[in-house]
Symmetry: C2
């Protein structure tokens, strides 16, 4: 072998080496995760990974099963997310590598889950067979279960490795302490007829359950567990007139802004204003349709509202200082969900029947971007990893 | 060259290739940034990169100049951070690659900075020559300046691309709108004698400036700019007795928990309780020394307090429901700063004279970890990227 041939061989190998390096590192996109998010594409069983700085779609992850009513929580690292499917599938995805990390079918029918304060436990709530299941967040190993003999709704994390949830068939709020994840310790509180959804306030203190079987809301103050759950807003519900309700509003869509909570009225074209100290209604703001999500911009100055069919092409913005609607938008067909960027300069909206996600500037109300998405529903940004009650 | 030799050469080259790939990708650690943070090592002009999940030090970045009184803000991506040094150095660091991305000397004497709501602008506040400077967050190109003919203190971001700050020598609060970053628009409000620090409330609504030249606090409500700044807490300060003050407490260390603010008393062994609706003092909680930082756990149930010399080896914890100190700790020598993990299960404390950072469980008060750090001061986690008023 001549010296010249050897030189050429070396050159070729260096080229191969260089290309291999490039290829290997191209598969590991080095980037932060603070400005990423997930959009559920419910029709395809896949999610889109989005970048809220570039306002772009980075890629997709397929094979997540039935994603109607799907929800997402994030690991502490902002890289891994847990997608809870309607079919009981719990999928851990890696949004940097854009692939499934682990997947288990954990129940027959499920409507969501939550992650513990320290990020080590993922908990799923189930309709069928009921109960909650506790998984190791790293491995998805099943650690324990709490059987309920009831559909479970409104699961949310609370400080101290606790989780709050409500039992539709038993009319109770349960608080489970998972400090020892293999030995759940549960406290049970009577709440009222048929709780259908629940939420934890942004500070992690109060658990509230909406009641389907009677008017009113059950409120549990975790700082005063000895007092149990009590009934507030006794007129909140369908009322004596038994209004036609096109869609029960999401409680999780309540806004807490400053000292007030903004609640979707049930069956009425109104947003209710509630004082969070007395938990009494202090006002009503007329809006264009039956509200579904009522969400506060992070600074609390605006509350954005979307609506049930047939008004689900509209979105209205309430100015909380003026106490009235200041903007009415038509972002697209069938607006299912809204998510604010972490500091609120923009809001992302899913327009299911337009197969699009729209991004609006919250100050000027101009549309900044439209992104393609197949039947988009829930939008979940990584900043949720740092928040309580999801 | 024999076939055998060629085979051996190939084998050697494949080994080289493999090692090169490993080495290249080892330099690009694929990971999320949601659980990362920076600890200022003031004596060495360097910062430590920390992981709050593993409770470990991942590495260091050197060459940041004078880091006494240094502070950090994060880009939207959670990967890049801006370190403001005392010597006027503004350094953009990459915490994944653990290296300096860009660095400019932007003033002679500086004490901090802030990042705009949309993450596109970084603003530095300067003692000498005074004024604020506006930089492109990507390139650190200087876009504009606002001269003040005064030392600037208490710079903080506000919604709508605005920044609030106070002028020590002029006794004013200025609010600068950087919607057009090359054409700053500034409103000026008389505030009182010698404002020495300022803060924005967590919702971005109120700007408060502490006064050195007189007792009281100047309060500006950005939702009512027409009202200007007004004086609150008229007894807050050194008072008629002219107490010896070992260290002016950081206003930025105020805690807002639920409806109350917790303020370090000046020169007194007390934490003041203030109602954030009336902005009136509603109580005082006795503590072990002159408080410096008074910081709320994210759920507002606890407020942690550190102290000026000679009590700076102690930390006390106030239970906000009980309104009293429930725990007294000795985490190390010269506790300079505290930072809660995003959801509050742990707190990190800098013990400067022990060259260590300690991590405590906030529920059990047990020490979870001690990490080495050279003269650590400020601790800044990436979750700050999603918050207002930093």
């Amino acid at each position: 072998m001549s010296r010249r041939l050897l030189d050429r061989t070396w050159l070729a190998l260096r080229l191969v080496l260089g290309c291999a390096l490039l290829a290997a590192c191209a598969q590991v996109p080095l980037r932060g995760t603070g400005d990423l998010g997930i959009v559920i594409e419910r029709a395809n069983g896949r999610v889109a990974i989005v970048d809220t700085t570039a306002k772009s779609v980075l890629g997709h992850i397929d094979g997540l099963g039935d994603l109607s009513h799907a929800s997402v929580v994030y690991a502490r690292d902002g890289r891994h997310a847990y997608v809870f499917g309607r079919d009981g599938g719990l999928t851990k995805v890696d949004i940097l590598l854009q692939r499934i990390d682990k997947r288990v079918m954990q129940a027959g029918n499920s409507i969501g889950g939550a992650i513990s304060q320290d990020g080590r436990l993922v908990v799923a709530q189930n309709y069928v067979p009921g109960g909650i299941k506790v998984f190791d967040a790293e491995t998805l190993e099943l650690l324990s279960e709490v059987p309920t003999e009831s559909k479970v709704v409104g699961l949310a994390d609370m400080p101290g490795q606790k989780f709050g949830y409500a039992l539709f068939d038993k009319g109770e709020i349960w608080i489970t302490d998972l400090t020892n994840p293999r030995v759940p310790v549960t406290q049970k509180y009577p709440a009222g007829l048929q709780p259908y959804d629940g939420l934890v306030t942004p500070d992690g203190r109060y658990y509230l359950a909406g009641l389907f079987g009677e008017d009113g809301i059950a409120l549990f103050d975790s700082w005063h567990p000895e007092a149990g759950a009590r009934k507030i807003l006794e007129n909140y519900g369908k009322g004596e007139e038994k209004l036609p309700v096109f869609k029960m509003p999401h409680l999780r869509g309540w806004a807490v802004a400053g000292r007030n909570a903004y609640l979707p009225a049930i069956g009425r074209h109104e947003v209710l204003l509630v004082d969070t100290a007395s938990w009494r209604e202090t006002g009503r703001i007329p809006v264009k349709g039956q509200p579904v999500f009522v969400m506060a911009r992070p600074d609390g100055r605006q509350v954005w509202v979307n609506f049930a069919h047939p008004d689900n092409g509209w979105v209205q913005v309430i100015d909380t200082l003026k106490g009235e609607v200041v903007q009415t938008l038509q972002p697209g067909k069938a607006i299912l969900h809204m998510e604010f960027t972490p500091r609120g300069e923009a809001v992302w909206l899913s327009a299911r029947d337009d197969n699009a996600v729209s991004v609006y500037d919250t100050q000027s109300f101009t549309k900044l971007m439209t992104l393609p998405a197949q039947s988009p529903s829930g939008i979940f940004f990584t900043s949720r990893a740092a928040r309580m009650g999801f």
